[in-house]
């Protein structure tokens, strides 16, 4: 199931897409700093409308980065570290993989080079 060779995580792309927008990152920052806040409150700290904030929160929620809880007539949003952590791990794995491949390619290249220059006598 979780053994997709390359490009595992399903949610990774939504997380990346969500994180790509600066406003959404600001939003996450505020959310992380203030704990549980309503969209209206957040809009007060940003140069955008409440509606825009709501939309962004929707995207972030779809990516699993935040979650909202209804309290009376308001909705308190809070940050959700799990999704971010998963993406971070995915990324780290990818980086390590690249490193591995690069090392391999480099070794092969060196070997090939050594192989292809018998006539040359560097000292």
């Amino acid at each position: 199931m979780t053994e997709k060779p390359a490009g595992a995580a399903e949610g990774v792309d939504s997380v990346l897409a969500a994180l790509a927008d600066p406003t959404r990152r600001r939003l996450l920052d505020l959310l992380a700093a203030q704990g549980e806040v309503t969209a209206t409150t957040l809009a007060g700290s940003l140069p955008v409308t409440r509606q825009a904030v709501v939309k962004h929160l929707g995207v972030l929620d779809a990516a699993g980065l935040v979650s909202g809880t209804r309290v009376g007539r308001e909705v308190r949003y809070s940050v959700q570290p799990a999704a971010l952590g998963a993406t971070a791990r995915w990324m780290a794995t990818l980086a390590a993989d690249w490193d591995r491949r690069l090392a391999t390619v480099k070794r092969i290249a060196e070997a090939a080079e050594r192989e292809s220059r018998p006539p040359e006598t560097p000292r």
Copy 2:
């Protein structure tokens, strides 16, 4: 030089923006798999034009994720793990920070709740 303490990385946003596009991720995948390839070759493995590939490679290069080397009349591109690793670490740190804040908020909330219900006698 590249040592901003926390919240740091200037390049993080460009990396995230670069990674947000699926085509660019495919591109990185191919690049990681094949080592050193030209834009034209890459375009052959993708449903887009060579020009589109070139543009994407430009973005990826600006984000420090790839680098191109001129060899004769062609340009070989290769993947650059450093930037990705840095972003991965930044992300992991951020996730940990959120976790910390959440734990704190939770503790405070619990304390406050305990504080606010002296009249109730759950016996």
